[in-house]
Symmetry: none
Subunit: 210 residues, 4 copies
Amino acid sequence: MTDNLNTTKNPDSTGPSPSPPGRIKIIQAFKSLLKKKDFDAITWAEIAKTAGVNEGLIYKYFNNSRNLLHQVLAEYLKQYLTEIEFALKGINGALNKLRKFIWFQINSANRERVFARIYILEVRTYSGYFQSETYKLTQEYDKVLLEILDEGIKNGEIRDDVLIAHMRMTIFGAIEHICLPSIIFNREMSPDDFTEDLCKILFSGLGKSN
Amino acid sequence: MTDNLNTTKNPDSTGPSPSPPGRIKIIQAFKSLLKKKDFDAITWAEIAKTAGVNEGLIYKYFNNSRNLLHQVLAEYLKQYLTEIEFALKGINGALNKLRKFIWFQINSANRERVFARIYILEVRTYSGYFQSETYKLTQEYDKVLLEILDEGIKNGEIRDDVLIAHMRMTIFGAIEHICLPSIIFNREMSPDDFTEDLCKILFSGLGKSN
Amino acid sequence: MTDNLNTTKNPDSTGPSPSPPGRIKIIQAFKSLLKKKDFDAITWAEIAKTAGVNEGLIYKYFNNSRNLLHQVLAEYLKQYLTEIEFALKGINGALNKLRKFIWFQINSANRERVFARIYILEVRTYSGYFQSETYKLTQEYDKVLLEILDEGIKNGEIRDDVLIAHMRMTIFGAIEHICLPSIIFNREMSPDDFTEDLCKILFSGLGKSN
Amino acid sequence: MTDNLNTTKNPDSTGPSPSPPGRIKIIQAFKSLLKKKDFDAITWAEIAKTAGVNEGLIYKYFNNSRNLLHQVLAEYLKQYLTEIEFALKGINGALNKLRKFIWFQINSANRERVFARIYILEVRTYSGYFQSETYKLTQEYDKVLLEILDEGIKNGEIRDDVLIAHMRMTIFGAIEHICLPSIIFNREMSPDDFTEDLCKILFSGLGKSN
DNA sequence: CATGAATGAGTGTTCATTCAT
DNA sequence: TATGAATGAACACTCATTCAT
């Protein structure tokens, strides 16, 4: 499956989509295929066959394949965004929130390993990613983290001698890397253990605290 | 460019091998194409044309496309491996070595941004990666880092209450993520600044140190 | 023309199927090419061009080339099967039926020499033949002969001191070999004469009967 | 492996070949490959590699692939020809000789199943076969059989009301067909049993002898 | 809203063959 | 006698895409 443009032809964008049966069937077929094989290995014909729908119909709804992928991802991302906001409520202190944030990320990646794999291996890889709708959604995520860091800096919990962007990248990079093997091999991981170690390292550093 | 197997067909393996002109031209053509476009978008026809060589010749030297990619990468990796070992010589203390290691990684990524992009976005993404020759080479890298961490734990510089594997992943993830934007957009980055911030975070943590 | 699998992808199997014009054109083009050259020498491009159809369409209807061949053969075979059953009706005695069977075989081979050539030289040669659908169809043929032999053994017309399978092979082998030169050189043959001699030999043996 | 012409460039034809090492290695490599895979699937590159010889060298000796095949076959055929003549010596009576001939054929096919497979499936299939050198050699075989039949007719052992050519074809066809499954699946066969049944059928016919 | 039929333009790969050395 | 390097031409197969109905 290849594609060039990122033309937006998202029926959802203009309001509550009527979501005709064909469209739903296509999305479901695509999701189920994504569980079995790489995005690049999925063909229109396969989707159509799995969905029990004509090939041509896919064009009606998703002009190009990347579009379909992004729409599926956007669904997940939107849901996570709601969840993370809810998950952080009632927690005091920036570091406490950060711990929760990290745990939530790992836990989500664990719950939806397929989705995580696609995001890390397929989407972020895509050269047009930073211009995509998906990227905009992930920025909302970023914002959640940045706010936590900001709060921590302001209230003195978090150091202020380092670029906040660098902190953010370190955190995301660490999370991602620690999850990568499990994601690639689709192995169960332990959010609690990973979070524990990650927070030790990220909060107080690798150095022995004397 | 797609491929199935990862069969090694390296004429170099049995000796110095004069490396016939055609082979060299192919590799150079491939490298130069890699600077312009994604690996997946590069075709045999393109390589052949760029190299001024017959398509069939590519097959002669590199059984399949992934093989060509891996051989090119292996070249870089071998070189880096030599360099990092040299670079660490004469440095005392695990954290000092770690700082140098981080700096070296970022600096290398900066010097060879194309290579870094391919490695992060194309190779590591590949499902057969962990069975590949390339992976074995990167494990040598890992070993260098692990030895530093080990030394640090033994001499009390580095904490011992965290899985060493988690430390390694955090470090690599952090480095990778901090370099990612520059790599993707092929922008110059500052190894010194990046290293400075990364080490602050990784050595003593995000938390305010008192 | 090469091929690997023998996957059945017969749109006809589930109903009457309008058999789209493209499919028909392909089959006809293929048949006409078969008259001119060996199966192995026929390319997709040639078929497509002859049929005035796109190459990809062949793939749509016949997953691989062997499949196309087998489907064409199956058509013939099915027709023959109906005919042979009809031809044997109203004949009394196993040897009389056998004579008719032999005559029918030779006559069919004569009528459709191209088909006969393909079957003998191309299909039966194919290593996957005995797993193919075509083979199953020819087994129906075999059954017709076996039933005749069986009847003859039971009613004392045919000897019972020889493996029935060996009789079958002798008969088929004899027919085939006697037709071979005509088939290869596409020369007219005389079913009556061939049958006469064959039956003499097969019924009462080479030995002088006194 | 494909080929068009049947150009004779047989170094043997002009006398006792010096048979340089390369040539021998090539033939041996080819023979051993023939045991493992179909003739069509064997490539020059493979032969050269197996023989430990350069690809180009094959051209020196065997202008085209069919030529190589035929030369290998000719070797076998010549040997068989000598053997059959020897085997028939000292046997009295046409039918006794015929029985021996049949047994010899089946036994040879059994001993060299690979060779038999090639001859039946690859060579005889080839459209230029009847113009080939190989065909001429097999005609020598035919002659042996024809002489037996002739003798039998003359001395009254064998019927004279049937074309001798038809007898020959029946015999060869029967032998071939009875051996075919074993040849294709490379299964051991019992020359004694096969001969016994074949001779019963061929000598006195399928019909119950009164 | 949905389909069946058909297309065009590639893709990686294969291989026999040639030739300078 | 033998080799390494290189080529040219094809081949089966793939797939996103279009369009009339």
